[in-house]
Each structure stands twice: as structure tokens, then as C-alpha cells.
Symmetry: C2
Subunit: 1004 residues, 2 copies
């Protein structure tokens, strides 16, 4: 079997669209900041920002929001909003509006006539309709993975670029609603070329402090690696971002909500009317402006004039604002007023602040967790809806893989079938929304999200199937049906009900990986596994844990899993393993009820005979005392009538007590130990709703914890929030480390906030942080405990040597932040059951970080497995079908990730390479890396590679960010820079750097 | 003193506007029916009528509705509606909309830019925005007086004509919400040139019958006099009107309300969406269309697509209707559907029906009372808010008088002060709204209405004052301050606190009248009254009734009223009487506690010594046994949860029992009798909340009943509805007669409806009818009892020989038809007190009708009295000031009323003359009348008099009404006619005819 580089291409082309190079650029230098209204010197310049906040699903589904159906739930219809706004802008050149969410806008755009489109283009060119943020949605910052953030932002930004060119490029990011703000997100925004970030939610104590000190606006340094290191021609601080916190979240001043669904009084300017109210209304408004101006550093202030799904009848808003502006500004001459009101946008406001040439305070940490009051810490959503969160991770992995496949498929092929992955890109974009991946949507919306994602998954499976159909077939016959299994419940029809089948394993990483494959089979048959070359590889049959076999919804006759190692899976490629029955007995797995340890050549785990819990872990001969235990917090109940009555809910984590409770277990934790050649496992059963397998595979240095939690019982009227807690002897001294969006790592300090005076009111919840890939503690002498997660979870270290991860929650009370439902997920008539995986790593600091970086990518980008039952023998099969594939010429360095490979059009492709290490994490791997891209794609030559900003919507050479002064220790000046012109094809990457290219390929 | 014809003109010009003769007429023959969409033969043609129903006050005030303030009460803002509709029509030539209420539209129009105005003109010219009805409001039909109806309609129609010319002329009247329908109103509409009338509310049993018989559409013969008599060149039936009842009131089909405030599902036409609903929605809609078509006579059907204050965000409605139309009509080709949907208007629908050339069923009676179910008879509002109803009558009288004054003032004067009576015209127009004069508005709205009207009254007083200031002054000195008194509570500062004063009495009728004037004065002084020539006239001082003196809010030291006769008041003119103290004793009034009768030379009234009630009335020697008594019905309480739980409320009259109860009176009715030269009175006191004066003036043949009712006690938790009931020996045989809007008379039959099968479920309420001027019973031999009212009241004849009038009501429960409040009027911390007058007439049929016609006009157009205190002697006064005025050359015939005299511009005036008798009411007075208008206005020549339709918005010669066939006994064909060309200046009037002229005057 040889590697095949002569691709016959698939039929799919994705929907992504190119950086509009052919677009008329004459508008480019007249739009943007040039269109901004002029401030009036000596006045308080009041920038009125007309905006709508359109959640991509929350109380209603995306479709319901778009069409405005189900108004009983919420009076919201996005189609009408955009219709109405465009109409109201058309004939009023002074009015401005910003729009944010491309998931909605794109949908609307596709329905418009050419006439309307050209009206909108004109509005955009003149800066009257300004896209802001411009991602597919306004993504969550705590639980969204950086890969998904970049994708969803790029999807929106590239669509904007294609539609409107440079004038449609958002200058400002607008994260007004997400529940806390991530430093990594700020870094990504900076790298996308944004000039500013605006948001609404920060901790109440932080806000109080900032208002008092006039530090609501600042410069946020988004990355230690990217901010501090000078490297080649990068001047500095490519991850620094001007950041502003809105005065009133994103709401209008109290009493000045002019939406058709608001109840505030309109401006009544008929002097004959007994309701005439101009004087009073203007006075009240200016009083508010003065109060806001008092809390900000300059005499420019921004007022958010809009809210959730506002402007369905834009005339109501604009007509009254027109009057407000008119009558307020008339006072300049009639009463010597020093307020100057005008329609503006966040970018025009940012430009105005930039023109003040001030030095701004700096910020280096992040804005987590977010406490909106003393007992409302928004840390529940870090875990809420764990099954949905996992589905999103799987979706992300699938989509990345399929983009790579499509990249390969499309090369040089002229096809009109564009947009096949659109459903998945749309779904994944939507899922990053701050009420989607967060789990803070209504139940019916969660179900719709699952459906959207499921449709995307089916689309991906179709692509995978087509890929195999084209790529594995040697002759002209067709490939038998490819099946995909629900391996998360250890269920697989093709492997259970066939004695011969082929297992295809696709690796979407640009490096080789080893993957232990687990195939559910019936017991009784002994199987043999052949590798792509026909050699028998070791395999082991191991019983499926009892608590897995009983998973609700599982329809399977499989009782055992056939385990084998798919080793050295090719980069961007697949291997097919052939499974067949043999007469001899299966490789033996010993069941040893009284054995209390498992081990491989590197690691051993010992459990306590009495408790059934892990008592120590030995890695490379070094033993650490370690207890791992599932526990639970009772959810606080309450009617939310006051701060003290706040309930634990979808957003809020508020435990009923400060110490977690033991999982009830009538006769203690029941353990069963299985030993074997490839894998050893201890199955722990706490009770009917908590079970866990402790697992060590041959050759691996980490311990895998494969847990099933649920259905959480609530018959006692108490909501339950389940944690997995690891207690060690590591002296962590109140410090722990969590990732940001699966990328950089931030130091956390128990009960301490570095940025503001902090009162301990919720000792547990307020110390929770979002974990997307890793959390660790370490001591001064280099001992480190790291936990990797397979989905976002809340976690903390509340005591010395301890780590806890919240894996599941079921609450019985709404927490009164709008969703209006208790977070009480059910399935199959009972509470939802969740299965997940933690990787536990013990080691020294260096080794741990290397394993963390490597394993977290492997956990995220797990190879994709599919099945083809067959009656052919191996030799017959391998005569007809290839058993190995690879679509990249060579593996990339281990510290480099091929982040993106996406087709833009017939010859242009978007490629991102990233350095996955932060500065100082590893003496070697944290060094800059170089990737030669020459000849990287077999059969093609890269004839050009133009670097773009991270969003893929602007060439890096065209970037012209505003220059700011930050009052950091180094008095940093950042902004407009001479961008890197490091030579292609040798792409150099410094730590944490992501470089984005539009590459042009031609067939050799 | 000589009559003065050499007027020095006043400074006022009214806001009425001329029939636009100078307007470009090229559009005239391309607008109107010519713009209508074509029907498709062989299809059910579904006319979708997009409309909004904008109450001129109801739950909110007119200002609140216009501006959209107080949305907590109701989500309604008319400014936004018209903004939005115009915007949505602009770019969509197929869309149509109708607008009705000119009180709102005019206000909006005045705020628009020239650009917007020209857009709207274009929309109107193209029939896309069609004015329908076009009155100032959609007036009530039960309690509005015909003078006010004509005025409010004309105000709207003339404004429309001035603004849009012929294309703005409404073809159709649209009375979709009023609570029952009047035959007189139909007659007036016909005379205004409407081609059709559409309404929504008719009795539930009537509707059932009509749906079953497909007679929802008919020809309504509006007047016996105008319908049946051929006269000169009037062909026939100028009062006949095509009339259609809407299928669903004025609401859209259930489930198809696409307003932004509705909750029905939008059309979701993205086939990928799981919410895609086009098939289901179209099927449901067409099913409804089929059901409606089954109930109507033709395959053209009209669907009302709108409701109260809909289309604030017109896009929501139109966008979904666009889709509905598109997808429904697609079925014509894809599924052979026979439904054809399109945007239409009531006029286009009417034209389509007319094109069918069918013969339509006919209708001669009216649509009162309206029972929406078996226990919800809308007869309470005939009386609701009796004080407000009286204020409107006073306002009407005042305004007519002031229009006449302005007519006189403006002649030949160039002035830029146009529009001074606008406030009053606006207020009076608004007051005719079907939630204003009806008394069915919320209390705060009632207070706003009162304020509007009060402002108008002040404006009228200013005009009256200016008139006197210019007209009475002989030299160059100015007239002393003119004061107006609250004579309704017998309170008058200038007469109470001055010993010499002048009483000016203005008569706005075109005939002479006698008026007994009552001037409140302190007792102790004896006064002498001098007529304009200085002759002493008889006067009499009579004590103010105890129950009047105690009226809440009365601040007066007057204890007696000085009564004198102002005789032969000149037509459209005034007399001034001079009052001075004299040494001798006042003409005597005898107080006789034990006297049980009063009399004058024609009439005597005897009361029962025991009961204190009238026991007989003798007129011209003929004695009728007659008992008059106040009684009360308990208001039914209920939560309206079902038909039987309906409460009596603002709309609904539902007594708790079928027999009225006796007014509680601890020691019987206390009576006091006063005799004197001019007037004799019996004061009856029932208790602290019912009192009445029975009064006979010298020379008068009717008995005046001057009653005070209230505060109605409700401490017992029971609402109360008070009637005045007259019981006689007249054998009325279940028949009684009531006026329609103060004009024609209709026969009523107890417990019988001529038009449909009727079930007696509410034996009292369902026999109530609106009385605006008169109600009578009679027997076969010519005895007749007539009661005249000074305001609208509900009334009936429930037993032989009986008449009852409901004078006041105070309910404690809402009746659940939207107003959301119990009708519980209070003032000064207690229930509202109401004072009113009934005229009781006994006589034969001929005499009674003559008195009725004459007295009802006198009661309606009472002379207006003002006061000027002075220190001058009479001879000094009369040397400086004229004491008599007249602005018409001669009196008109007694059967003719000068209905209108209104300035249009500097030379054009609107004049209406009406014959006030119906056919057959009087052998002489019911004959046609002739009025020579030559030289009618002293000092001026009428150089032209062009006849117009009743609304003053179309020349009669241009009228081109649609021709209809009605299946009456005569198989009437009516419509397009050769209009009267009877010679001017001799205006001939047949019974009940009103002729409207635009006259041109030049100064001689």
C-alpha cells in the first residue's frame, strides 16, 4: 500500500468566500473613520449609538428570532429589525446604526432584492450602517474554544468582506452581553485588527472601582507572549487592545428606551398638547449625560441606545432620538448648554478617544469571574448543559476535519456545488453564541441547537463518506456503505452485527498520532485486527462497564469493546484496519475483583481497598498521594426576590454550603479491576448515578478518567452540582492555573483579585473559573497536577493541593437572569446522563506542560472513526481499496498546529499556522518555530502566500490600527506597525503566534 | 335702536377649507375605481384590506394615541402608524392601505416635510393609500346628533379635498366599530355621496340570520322622505346606500394577525427551517376564505387585515401578507386552487360587487339595539356619562353659533388670522367618536375630552366677546368685560355681585325665538329688567331649589333666580336686557307648601298629595292621567367569565331585575309649590340624590322637568341606573317611536325585531333605544305623549302607556368590552351629580309633532347668555352700545333650519338649509319649503350658489354614484342620477332634505 498523492477530488466546495480583491476599492479611503461625525470642542460630546442586540438563540430558537415567530415567548423578529433599520437610515443621512451578528444579517441579505442590496451597500460605504464585531454571533468568552472563536469570527468577517469590501470591515469588537471577558479573546481580537473592544458586563466591585477612578476605558494586554516579546519586525503588543466598558451595560438611559416594545414616554413636542414634555425630557437626559461624563476619562461619552431585539420598528427609536438631539442641541444657543448630541458608532467614539491622544490605564489579567452582585457569580454556566458543550467540541473537531478534507477535495476542481459545509459552519458559528455554548438557553432552544448541530454532523459525515468513496477506491467499483457509530454510548451496529468489518480512522492533525480504538462488539466471538498492510496487531477485548451498558437510550447488544492501537496515523490522513473473527481465544483481559491497582510501564494507580477511591498515582517511579472523588454541592434555592434569595441556575453557581458533600452510596464504592496487554481499567460504581473507569493504556503517561454522571436525583427537592475533586499533597499555596479558551494559561489566586478590592461573599462560586482544556496546581519544587477536560467545565482549587471540576448540574430554580427556566435537563424520562473524560497528569512542570499541550490537542482533535462491514477477505479488500491516505507531504513540528485549511475559491485557500506553546512553557518547544510550506501539499505548488490579519478579512500589509499609549510599566505604545515580512515559504512562528495566509495553489 | 347691517368685521376666520377648485384635476379620472386591481373570473377573489382602526380616544387620550405615549395602558401610537404605512407603500406598488380618521391624519400631515407630502399625494393619486370614511373620527351612531355628524364628517372631507383633491375623496364609509347603526346616519352618508357603507357590529341573531341567508350585503334605504318621493329632478332614493357587514367585525382571520403586537406565527418560507409553515398556513387561510365565501352572496370577499392601532410596524403586516398572497396564488397553477388573493380596498371591493350587477336585498329599519350575545345588549352607553353628553350638546350649540358669527365677521375682510375655531372644531369632531360621546372611554380620557372641549368653549367665548366688542359698540370706546356664567348650577358672579348689569342673549337660529332667561341673584334686592328699547318687562324672582343650591362644586351666594322673557330674539342676532335694582318689591312668587297643582293659560299639572308625584296633566282642557317618577335598576354585577356573568357597564345595560325599583325616600317625596306671573314650579325632593322641578312658563304648552340626580349611592355595593318613567293611560300597544340622531323618527316594537328571529333574553335592556331628541307613544285615536331630551339618553316603553328615559348610571363592574373600568363617575369626592331637562308634551299627533320639531330645535340651540356688569344707567348704556343685532335679512320658514353657515375662504361660504319635517308629520309643514336666498345676508349679494353633496367636498353635478339594484318592494334602482338643477336663489326643500351650497358673496 503506498501513499496516494494523486487525488481525485470530491464534489464539495465550502461556502467560505474570499477576501474581495476584485472589489472596487475607491470607497475604502472614504469610509471608516473618515465618515465619522465631528465632535464639538469644549462640549461634552454625546455619541448616541443606535444598536440592537440579537441573540443567536436564547429564549427562542435562531429561526424563531429571525422570523419573529413565537412572540408569546419574546417579542423579537430580526428580519423586521434589519428591514426597518435600512428603511429608516435610507432617507436620513445623519442617522447611524450598528449591526453585529452575521448569522442573522447573512440570512437577511440572501432574501433581499438587488435594489435593497445596493441601498445597503451605499449605507455601509457611507458609514451609516456600520458592522461592528461582525462575527457569526457574539461569542461567549468563557466556554468557547479558541478554534471555534476564530472560525466563527472569520466566517462573519470574510462574509462581510465578500459582501461589502473594506467599508464593511468592522473596526470594533462589541461583546456587550457575554458574562465575563477573556484575555485570550482580547488577544484574538487584537490580532484580527480591531481597534477597540466594548463590553458591558464586569464584576460589580470592579465596575464600582473603575467608575470611581475613571478607568472604565483601558488598554488590555492580551498575551504575555505576543505582548512582551520583540521578534523580527513585529514591533510590540500585537495582542494589545483598547478596551471600553459601557456605562449602562448596553441599555439606554433609564426612561429613554424608545423601542416599540418599551414603555418610556415619547418626546411630545406639540406645544399645544397638555402632554408636551420636551423641556423635562431634555433636562433629564442631559443630567444622565453629565453623570456618565463624570465617571469617564474624557468629555466624549458613548450612550447605548438600544437593547435586545430592539428596532423592529426603527422609526420609533429614531424619530424620538431625532427630537432629543434637536431639542438638546438647541439649548447650546438658547441656554448655553455644553452638551452636544449626535448619532455615532463605537468606532467613531473610539476614533474620538484616540484623537484625545491620552495615555490609558492598562490591564493584563482578565474579567472572570463575573459577579453581578454579591451573591450572583456567573460561574454556573461554565458547566451548564455538559452534554451540549461536548457535542459542540465534537462538532468543532468534525468541522475542522471536514474543512481539511474539502480543502483537499477542491484543489483544481471546477465545481458549482458551493456551500456544502455551510450548514455546519452556520451551526458551529451559532453554537459559540453566549447563550448557546454557555448552556443558558431555554430547553426548547437547546433542543433546536442540538438539531442544527446534528444536521451539520450529518453533512460532515456525508463529506467524510464521499471522501472515502473517492479516495479509497482503486478501481471503478463503489465503496460499500460507510457507517458512523455512537461510540459515546459504546454502541455500534456495524461492529456488533458483523463478523468482518473495516475500521477507518481519520486524523485531522498535521502530525502523526497514536489512537487506541475501542470497538463495541458482542462477546463470544474472538476478533483479529489487521493493520493497513495486513499485519495482525495486538487487540484486547474488555468488558463494557456496567454503568455504561445501562446508559439510557443505548440500544446495543455489545458487552465488550475490542481495543487496539491505531498507531502512527498519518497527518491529514487515514488508515483502515481490517477486523475478522479468528478461531483462537481473544487476548486475555483478567477480571480481578480484589486487585487494587493497575499499571503500565510508566504509570500505576492504586486504590484504597476500603473507600474504593484512588489513593496514589505513581509516574515514572515517583508516587504522589492522591485522592480523586466525585462529590456534590446542593444548589441554593431561592425566589431571587433579593440578593440573598438568589438561586443557583443556568448562569449562576451558588452552592447551598461551602463544602461539597459525599456522593451517597449504600454499600460503598464497588470496584472491579481489569488487566490486559493494552489497557488496564478500574471500574468504580458509586451508586446508580455516578460511575467511573480509571484507565491506563500501554505506553501512555497519563491516567484517563472516563466518568458517567447522572441522572442526578432531585426527588429530595434539592438541585445538585457534581464535581470531581482531586486532592494531593502538592503545596499549591492558594494558586492555580487555568487556560483561556483552550489556549494561554492564567494564574488564579484563591480569594484574591489583583485588579480591585474584593469582598468574599461566595467563597466557592466566586473562585470558580472556566476551564476549556487544562487546569493545574503546582508547588515550588516542580510537582504539578494537571487535569485536562474534554469540554468546558467550571473549576477551582479551593484548598491546598486540591483541584475540582464541575462535571454536571441539575438545578430546580431559575436564577432570574432572563432564561426563566430552571436548568433541569432530562432525557428518557429522567435526569440527563453525561459521560466524559478527564486526563490526569502528574509530573514535573516541564513534562506536564509538554503533555498538556500535546494531549489537549489530541483530546480535542480525536481521530474520526467509521465502519464498513464487508464479506471480503483482507486481501480481496486491499486489492480493491486503499487502506492508507495522507494529504500533506510531511508532519509539522510538534509545537506547531495547522489551525486552518479552508477553501476560499478555486485557487485561494485560507491557512493558519499556530505556535501552541506560550513563552517559557518549555525550554525547547517554547522557542520560535519555522514551518517550510514549500511543497507541503503534494501535487501542488504554493505560488503565493499573502499574510492576512487573523480574521482573514484584511491583508496584513493593509492593516493600519490606531496607535494608543498605555500606562503599563513600559509605557507601551502600540497600534499601527510595520508588519512582518518574513519570507515565505519558511513561516516563522513565535510562541502563541497564529499566522494567517491566503495561499494560491496551482497543480504541478 | 335700529338693526345694524353695516358690520365692522371681527378678526376671526375659521379653519375650514374650500372645495379645491384650483387643484389640478388630471388625476381625477385615473384615480378612484380606475386604480382597482382586476378580479380573476372563475375564482374566489379575496380582497385583502390592510387597515388600522385608530380610536380618537378610548383607553388613552387622543394625544397619547397620537404620540404613542403611556404604552402601559395600550401599545398604540398613530404617528408611527402613518409613518410606517407610507414607508411601506412607497416601494411596493401592489400594496394598498386605507386610512380613516382625519383627526389623526391631519395632525400627522402638518408635521411632514414637502418631500413626504408629495410621496403621500402620489400614493393617494394612485389609489394605494385610500381615504375611507374620512370624517374627523369614526362617529358613534346612537348618541351623536346629526348636526355634529355632518360637521365632523365635513370637517374631515373638506380637509381631504383641500389636501388631495378628488383623488382623496372617500367613496366608502367605514363604520366598523360603532355599537349599532343608525338609519339616519346611513341617509346622511348616502347624501354625502358615498357608494357604500361597511360596518362590523350587528346583533348576534341578525348576523346569524344574514350569514345563513347570504344577506350580509344589502341596500339600505335611509329615509322614508328621501327614499320614496320623487321630487323635481331627483330621481329616487338619494338616501339609499349599499351596505356591507364585515365577516369578522374588522379583525383578521384567526391566526393571521401579523401586527407587531400580535402573536400569530409569521409565514416561514425558508424550506430548510424546521419551522417552515407555508403549506399549513396557506391551507388554513384558504379554508377560512372558503368559509367566508360560503356566507356571502358572491365570489368576491373582503378580509379585514388589521385591527386597533395596527401597522405601527407596517412591514410586519405587509411582509407576511406579501408571502401569503404569493404562496396562495402559486397554488392556482400548482394545485388548481380557485382562490385569488390581492391587496384591495373597500371601494375596490364595492366596485367589484357593483360589477356583478346583482339585485341586493333591501333594508329599511336600523341596527339598534346591538346585542353581541344573549346578555350583552349595548344599550348602557346610550346614557353613560350623562354630564359629558350634555357638555357635547352645549359645545355643539356654541360652535354652530360661533361659526355663524365668524361667517358674518369674515365677509369681505382680508385677515391672516385663520383657524381660530380650529380647537373647537377639532374637539367637537373628536367628541363624536364612538368612545367619546358614548361615554365608553376610561375616566382619565373623559377628563381629557372635557379639557379639550373646555378649551374649545373658551375659544368660542373669546369669539362671542370679540363679536360683541365690535358689534355693540357705537363709538370708539371699548365694551366692558363680557362674562359667561355656569348657569347649569345656577351660579353667576356678575349677576350675584352687581346690582346693575346687562344680559346679552344671542340667538343662532334663523328664526325668532322667545327665551325665558333665569339669572341667579342674591335675595334681598329687587330687580327691574329693561328690554333693548328701555321698556320694563315683567320679571319674577323665584327661589332656587334646595337640591340645586346644594349642588357640589357650586360656589354661589345666589338664592333666587330672576326670571324674565326675552321675547322675539332676532334671527342670528342678539338682544341686550338691562337689569337694575328698584325700590319696590319684586314681582311676587308665592310659596305654597300645600298647593298640589301649577298651571298657566294652556297647561296645568296636578300632583298627588300622598306620593308627591304628578298624577295628571291637563293641556288645553284635556286631562291625561299621568304619573312621572324616578326609579332605579340595580346594575347586574358579574365577572364576565361567561355570558351569564356579564355585568352592566359602560357599554352594556343589564339590570339586575326586570322591574325598576322605587327611589328610597325616608319620609316620602317632599314637594314645594311656587306660583307667579311668569313661571310656576313644583320642587320635588325624593332624597339627598334625586330632586326635580316641574315647571310651566307662561305661554308655553309643554311641561319642563328640571331634574338633579346624584350622587348615586353605592355603599350597598350595588350599581344604580336611574330612570324617569312616565306612565299614562295612552294605549300604546307595544309600539313607541324614537328619533334617529335627533332627526328622523323610527317605530319601535316591544320584544319584536322586524328583520330577524329574536329571542327575548334581556326583556329590559334589549328594548332600549337611543333617544337624541324625542321619544313618544301614541294611541289609535291621536293621543300622544312625547318626551324631549337635552342630551342623548337610553329609553324605552316597556309597558302599555309607559315611557322611560335613563338619566344617570353608576356601575361598579367593568363589562369586559375593553375599557377595563367600571363606569363609576365621581366628582368632589362623591358620585357625580347630573342636572338635566325633559320636556313633556301631551297633545294630539299633529300638534305634538309640530311642538316636537320646534321645541327640540329650541332645546338644542338655546340662546347664549352673557353678562356685562355696569355702573351706567340704561340711557347712558344705550347711548354707547347697541342693544340689538341681527345678521340675516329675514326669518326662514318655520319648517326650515339654517343648518350651516361657515366660512371657507374670503369669498366662499358653506351654507346648508334643511327641511326639519318628515313626510306626513304635518299636513302643512311637511310640504316642500322654498327659501329665497336672494338678499338674505344684508350688505352682500350672493353671486353664485353651487350645490354640493352633503359633505361639502364634491359638487353635486360631479357626483357619479354607483348604480345598484335593490330587491325592495319597488325593485328600486338607485345611484347615478341627474341631479337637481332647481333655480337659485329660490332653494326648494322637500321633507328631511338638506341642501348644501358653496355660495360666493360680494359686498354691495
Amino acid at each position: 500500500m503506498v501513499l496516494n498523492f494523486n487525488w481525485i477530488c470530491c464534489i464539495f466546495v465550502i461556502g467560505a468566500i474570499s477576501l474581495a480583491s476584485a472589489r472596487p476599492s475607491l470607497r475604502a479611503d472614504t469610509c471608516g473613520y473618515q465618515t465619522c461625525p465631528k465632535e464639538k470642542e469644549g462640549f461634552v460630546n454625546v455619541h448616541l449609538v443606535a444598536h440592537t442586540h440579537d441573540d443567536a438563540g436564547w429564549l427562542k430558537t435562531v429561526d424563531q428570532y429571525y422570523y419573529g415567530s413565537r412572540t408569546q415567548i419574546q417579542e423579537a423578529g430580526v428580519q423586521y429589525i434589519i428591514d426597518s433599520v435600512v428603511d429608516e437610515l435610507k432617507d436620513h443621512p445623519d442617522r447611524r446604526f450598528i449591526y453585529v451578528e452575521m448569522a442573522f444579517f447573512t440570512r437577511w441579505w440572501q432574501e433581499q432584492s438587488e435594489t435593497t442590496k445596493s441601498v445597503v451597500r451605499e449605507l455601509v460605504n457611507e458609514g451609516r450602517l456600520e458592522f461592528i464585531n461582525g462575527g457569526w454571533c457574539m461569542n461567549d468568552e468563557a466556554t468557547a474554544h479558541y478554534v471555534d472563536i476564530i472560525d466563527q469570527m472569520s466566517f462573519g468577517l470574510i462574509t462581510l468582506n465578500e459582501t461589502f469590501g473594506e467599508c464593511g470591515r468592522p473596526r470594533i469588537s462589541w461583546q456587550i452581553d457575554p458574562f465575563g471577558h477573556s484575555r485570550e479573546q482580547a488577544s484574538l481580537f487584537a490580532q484580527m485588527g480591531y481597534d477597540g473592544l466594548f463590553f458591558g458586563r464586569l464584576d460589580h466591585e470592579d465596575k464600582k472601582e473603575r467608575l470611581a477612578k475613571k478607568t472604565m476605558e483601558m488598554v488590555w494586554s492580551g498575551s504575555d507572549s505576543l505582548g512582551k516579546t520583540l521578534f523580527h519586525l513585529h514591533v510590540c503588543a500585537q495582542a494589545s487592545l483598547f478596551t471600553a466598558v459601557n456605562y449602562n451595560l448596553y441599555q439606554p438611559p433609564p426612561g429613554f428606551c424608545f423601542d416599540i416594545y418599551c414603555n418610556d414616554e415619547p418626546i411630545i413636542d406639540d406645544p399645544i398638547s397638555k402632554d408636551y414634555n420636551v423641556e423635562q425630557r431634555v433636562t433629564d437626559f442631559l443630567k444622565y449625560c453629565q453623570e456618565q461624563a463624570n465617571a469617564y476619562a474624557t468629555d466624549s461619552i458613548l450612550l447605548t441606545m438600544g437593547s435586545d431585539f430592539h428596532y423592529q420598528d426603527a422609526n420609533v427609536w429614531f424619530k424620538n432620538m431625532d427630537k432629543l438631539i434637536k431639542y438638546a442641541n438647541e439649548r447650546q444657543t438658547t441656554q448655553g448648554s455644553r452638551f452636544n448630541l449626535f448619532y455615532s458608532t463605537p468606532s467613531c467614539y473610539t476614533k474620538a478617544l484616540n484623537d484625545h491622544a491620552k495615555t490609558w490605564p492598562s490591564k493584563t489579567d482578565d474579567f472572570f469571574p463575573y459577579g453581578s452582585d454579591a451573591h450572583a457569580y456567573w460561574t454556573g454556566y461554565f458547566t451548564s448543559r455538559p452534554a451540549s458543550k461536548y457535542m459542540i467540541r465534537q462538532g468543532s473537531n468534525l468541522m475542522q476535519a471536514k474543512l481539511f478534507i474539502l480543502f483537499r477535495c477542491i484543489q483544481g476542481v471546477d465545481t458549482s456545488k458551493v456551500g456544502e459545509l455551510y450548514t455546519m459552519k452556520d451551526a458551529m458559528g451559532i453554537m459559540q453564541h453566549h447563550d448557546a455554548v454557555t448552556g443558558t438557553e431555554k430547553q426548547h432552544v437547546a433542543e433546536d441547537y442540538a438539531l442544527l448541530l446534528h444536521k451539520g454532523v450529518l453533512e460532515c459525515q456525508k463529506i467524510q463518506t464521499a471522501y472515502y468513496g473517492k479516495e479509497l477506491v482503486i478501481g471503478s467499483q463503489s465503496l460499500p456503505k460507510v457507517s458512523y457509530c455512537q461510540l459515546n454510548v459504546s454502541q455500534c451496529d456495524p461492529s456488533e452485527n458483523n463478523s468482518r468489518f473495516v475500521v477507518n480512522i481519520y486524523n485531522s492533525m498535521a502530525r502523526s498520532v497514536d489512537k487506541y480504538v475501542r470497538v463495541p462488539v458482542k462477546s463470544g466471538t474472538t476478533f483479529q485486527v489487521l493493520d493497513p498492510q495486513g499485519n495482525v496487531v495486538s487487540s484486547q477485548s474488555i468488558p463494557i462497564a456496567e454503568y455504561v451498558k445501562n446508559l439510557p437510550g443505548r440500544v446495543s447488544s455489545a458487552t465488550v469493546e475490542l481495543v487496539f492501537l491505531a498507531s502512527q496515523l498519518p497527518p491529514l490522513g487515514s488508515k483502515s484496519y481490517y477486523v475478522q473473527p479468528v478461531a483462537r481465544k481473544q487476548e486475555k483481559t483478567s477480571k480481578l475483583n480484589n486487585k487494587s491497582s493497575i499499571f503500565n510501564e510508566k504509570v500505576s494507580v492504586e486504590i484504597d481497598d476500603v473507600t474504593g477511591l484512588i489513593k496514589s498515582v505513581t509516574v515514572n517511579g515517583k508516587t504522589t498521594q492522591l485522592k480523586q472523588e466525585f462529590m456534590w454541592y446542593p444548589s441554593k434555592s431561592g425566589d431571587n426576590s433579593n440578593v440573598n434569595q438568589r438561586a443557583s441556575g443556568a448562569y449562576i453557581f451558588r452552592p447551598g454550603g461551602n463544602a461539597p458533600l459525599t456522593i451517597p452510596s449504600s454499600s460503598g464504592i464497588k470496584t472491579t479491576t481489569y488487566s490486559g496487554e493494552l489497557v488496564e481499567e478500574i471500574h468504580q460504581i458509586y451508586n446508580s448515578w455516578v460511575g467511573q473507569t480509571i484507565r491506563i493504556y500501554k505506553g501512555q503517561e497519563h491516567v484517563e478518567l472516563d466518568w458517567v454522571v447522572g441522572p442526578l436525583p432531585v426527588e429530595d427537592g434539592v438541585g445538585k452540582e457534581i464535581i470531581s475533586r482531586v486532592t494531593t499533597s502538592i503545596s499549591s499555596n492558594g494558586m492555580f492555573y487555568t487556560d483561556a479558551n483552550g489556549r494561554q494559561t492564567l494564574l488564579r489566586k484563591l480569594d484574591i483579585r489583583d485588579s480591585y478590592p474584593y469582598t468574599v461573599t461566595e467563597p466557592v462560586a466566586a473562585n470558580y473559573y472556566p476551564i476549556n482544556s487544562h487546569v493545574y496546581i503546582k508547588d515550588a519544587v516542580g510537582n504539578q497536577l494537571t487535569m485536562l477536560v474534554d469540554r468546558p467545565q467550571g473549576g477551582s482549587s479551593l484548598h491546598n493541593g486540591e483541584l475540582e471540576l464541575m462535571v454536571h448540574r441539575r438545578c430546580l430554580y431559575d436564577d432570574a437572569f432572563g432564561v426563566g427556566e430552571a436548568l433541569n435537563e432530562t432525557a428518557f424520562g429522567d435526569g440527563l446522563v453525561v459521560r466524559g473524560t478527564h486526563f490526569l497528569i502528574l509530573g514535573d512542570k516541564t513534562n506536564s506542560m509538554k503533555m498538556t499541550r500535546s494531549l489537549s490537542h489530541e483530546l480535542y482533535k480525536q481521530p474520526q472513526i467509521s465502519f464498513i462491514p464487508t464479506t471480503l477477505s483482507f486481501s480481496e479488500w486491499s486489492a480493491l481499496y486503499k487502506t492508507q491516505q495522507q494529504s500533506i507531504s510531511r508532519v509539522l513540528p510538534v509545537n506547531v498546529n495547522l489551525l486552518t485549511l479552508e477553501t476560499l475559491n478555486q485557487e485561494k485557500y485560507l491557512m493558519r499556522l499556530e505556535h501552541i506553546y506560550d513563552v517559557g512553557e518549555d525550554s525547547i518547544l517554547s522557542q520560535p518555530a519555522t514551518v517550510s510550506i514549500e511543497g507541503l501539499f503534494p501535487g501542488f505548488t504554493i505560488i503565493s502566500a499573502e499574510e492576512t490579519m487573523l480574521g482573514g478579512n484584511q491583508f496584513k500589509k493593509d492593516s493600519n490600527r490606531l496607535v494608543w499609549n498605555a500606562a503599563s510599566t513600559r509605557n507601551e505604545i502600540f497600534g499601527q506597525q510595520k508588519w512582518d515580512e518574513r519570507a515565505i515559504p519558511a513561516v516563522q512562528l513565535k510562541p502563541m503566534e497564529i499566522r494567517t495566509f491566503i495561499i494560491t495553489l496551482v497543480r504541478i
